[in-house]
Amino acid sequence: MAVLEVKNVSFRYGNGPWILKDVSMEVEQGERVVILGPSGYGKSTLAKIIAGYLEPLSGKVLWNNHDLPQNCFCPIQLIYQHPEKALNPRWKMKKSLFEAGEPSEEVLRQIGIQEKWYDRWPNELSGGELQRFCVARVLKPETRLLIADEMTTMLDALNQAHIWNFILEYAEKHGMSIIAITHNKFLAEKLATRIISIPDINHIEANQDDL
């Protein structure tokens, strides 16, 4: 059974051109769906709508047949491309890491977060190190669907392989579903149980001038 249903979602910012038109997709329990496609097709906007950061103008996003639950730890968590923008620059790393409660020991050990990093500021760690904090922060038992929006695009291949190998193992063990957004077809093939090409589900005419 599908845990996530995106039903005929359309969206645009203000009076701008349509970013998403009549987009529908489903994700099943434990499935790893990769959304693949060039920039300008609204991949990131779709991610924000699924995670509940944006409201679709029409259509629906259903989580286990209901609207996304409010007022609790959201079962859908989103990780962005730029970890340095997803962390408060005025918080030390420990505060960001413990923002939504204590992270699991096992996650910290396996993703390779060192305790000596806790007292540092975000600008004192590399992108790969910061992205580990962003991952560890959201991997809670309540997290049932992880959306990784170009999560490792800015990282070197070693950090990319390390973070993904860990998440794949974690997802397998905990039955967590994944939506990964990428433009790298090799990475998509490595991660996915199913690949969706965004131009196939988004019925807009991509306007080259607006990219």
Partner: protein, 289 residues
Amino acid sequence: MNSRENTLLVVNNLSIGFESYNRDMEKRIIWPISNLSVSLNKGEILAIVGSSGSGKSLLAHAVMDILPDNAKSKGDIFYKKTKLDSQSIVELRGKEIVFIPQSVAFLDPLMEVGKQVCGIMGDAVKNLQEKAFEHFNLKKAVEKYYPFQLSGGMARRVLLSTAMVTDADLIIADEPTPGLDLSMAIEALKDFRELANQGKGVVLITHDIDLAINIADKIAIFYDGRVVETAETKYFKENGDGLKHPYSKALFQALPQNGFHLEKCPECGLSSAVWKVDEKEMRCECGRS
């Protein structure tokens, strides 16, 4: 041919440091780039590959002499036979050496982009600028736009146009493709190849190793402020055996198309991908060894 004659850019033991003051007002200097050496010949594309935020852009800024005021630099940079310093670069930049910056933030916010693309050459290259805009699918109206009116992809194409209006021999491109759709990115890379085939040189700074493998002749692997290895691109295409440094080998094997493989540290049993890398070795930073 004499190899000396053929060299376009030589960077020797370049170090770049930043002075800052900590809470107790003690001065400290951090060195994001230390003892970096690379060289580029005519007709070549050299890709400098490293993760973002690792300081690759500083190399380009050092060549162009546009480092911030609190930066110190050591080492030598030669363009052809000229040693570059704050005087000689003024004669060369914008004419013989062009720089394609990483973001629209490098443009003057109060000047129309068409004029900025012409740069110090002014109206003399107006028709070249128009040609470049047409080539990159930018409408005529875009000339009159100010930088804030450009979308990410348009900005990228405007920045690329700056390389087309001069007859520069050396092009330094800092992350030229993000924000472009695939066909436009391929087009831009073809342009670089074309320029190199005309005997010019291109330095391509990127975090995307796939991109480098597709276009460059030589790849310099950048880690922690140093180039650990410069290898011909063909070594990144076969099975990676030709690579010498363990870090470049590990990088090669970690690519999704090459198995997504990571060595585990024999000491701590993890593959946490935090490494101490020196001239010859890379070691896990678990602190047990």
